[in-house]
Symmetry: C2
Subunit: 261 residues, 2 copies
């Protein structure tokens, strides 16, 4: 969504899980994976038997600044070698296999990976090759499976997208943001209720003066509805000033005899 | 993760929000967005003033089978036209603006979009151009902002990744899977406790016969530990049969005088 080059800021956030790409085919996808890892605050990347060898310049071009992740990655001949120093290994596995292991959603896995990391243990997550996915021997290296909660009618998930979802869930599980918040910057102070009342008084006074509220039976309800309306949407000081100005201007025109419409 | 072509299965799941790409630059990204939408069960796509015009054959090549989404999309000259028939519009906005609107996380927005859809209202989500993101005029068309809970030190989020996260959250919020479940297929029945007891009895009987459990002070604890071990990990019927066979075979060798080791 932004074009900012963030390579310089990327640093390991530990404990963070190791992303292990098993027999990846396209260098572009490895670069896109590094970018997705950067988005989700992951840093540790390992490749098992990349099809076209390593390094590949095309990966750096697709990483959108996540160069440090690529610079620091390690290459391994086998899955067993890539997971040798880890304590827990998860395998992303979109299709049921004839195997019994705990199977987690991405969200469930993210929570468990944090819990494991908080015990000082190291986790890895296996992602299979673009076309075939992990094979049974790869999965035999894993303690648990991860299956994403996604549309079963369209399972063609890009490798970098698969890493993105896991990295995102890991990042959110770290310290989730409140689901709703209101953005306020120093340029836009929300008006106090006192300021709002002052404005509504101004408005009602001029409505009275104009005859708009001349029906006494309707006046109370109409004023209340005006108040409801202006309470909604957190008016800013600047917005109220603008509205004050509009009212004053309309009054000035009416008093000077200029037609309103 | 899989290479399955799922184009034929894609159908609208309603109520589902409309994805609106504002001034998208690369046709490849539009195709990748359609693929991500298919993964997350979204269907309705609109383009506002695509830079290179429309249609673009490259989009279909990157959609990995999500052709029906591209075939059905509509093109609009302005954001106002693209949102005209919608009731609520969200704008993805990674950076704070000098504006006051409700700001939601992707997860919070997904919950709200479902709530809105369940009231029979139509939602749209605006995604900005690859480099610059949405501008202030675009955002003025939106009721609420969405800011993803992702690493603030590396904000370079690919357009299709941005759509993927929102589509994923929408799909998960629809009917979230249990965070942990155990996969069972018809080829791997988990053994009953009766079958497990039967196996442990077999094992203990042969341990007794072999003299392995001859110390009466240790026997109780050792049998309990064996039981603990085999309780763990949900043994399957087939695994128990294999273990039965191993014990029988070891016994047969001992009885026939063949050395064990």
């Amino acid at each position: 969504m932004t074009g900012r080059d963030g390579g310089a800021e990327l640093n390991p956030i530990d404990p963070s899980p190791v992303v292990i790409l098993v027999r990846p085919q396209l260098a572009e996808n490895i670069g896109a994976v590094a970018r997705a890892m950067g988005n989700g605050g992951l840093f540790h990347l390992r490749l098992v038997a990349p099809r076209d060898g390593w390094p590949q310049e095309r990966a750096w071009r697709l990483a959108s600044g996540a160069h440090r992740i690529l610079d620091a990655l390690t290459v391994h001949e086998t899955v067993a070698d890539a997971v040798a120093d880890l304590h827990r290994v998860f395998a992303t596995c979109p299709r049921p296999r004839h195997i019994i292991k705990p199977m987690l959603t991405a969200r469930g896995a993210a929570a468990e990976i944090h819990a494991i990391g908080n015990r000082g243990l190291n986790c890895g997550i296996l992602f299979g090759p673009e076309r075939a996915g992990l094979d049974n021997d790869d999965i035999a290296e894993a303690d648990s499976l991860i299956r994403y909660d996604l549309n079963p009618d369209f399972m063609s998930l890009n490798l970098a997208q698969a890493v993105m979802i896991m990295a995102y869930e890991w990042y959110v599980a770290r310290a989730p943001d409140a689901p709703v918040k209101t953005l306020q910057t120093n340029k836009t102070d929300i008006a106090t209720k006192f300021a709002l009342d002052h404005f509504i008084d101004h408005l009602v006074r001029e409505c009275d003066a104009s005859g708009f509220l001349k029906n006494p039976q309707k006046r109370t309800g109409m004023v209340r509805n005006l108040r409801h309306f202006f309470q909604r949407g957190e008016a800013t000081t600047q917005e109220l000033n603008t509205l004050h100005g509009i009212i004053s201007e309309l009054v000035r025109k009416r008093e000077s005899g200029t037609p309103d419409a």
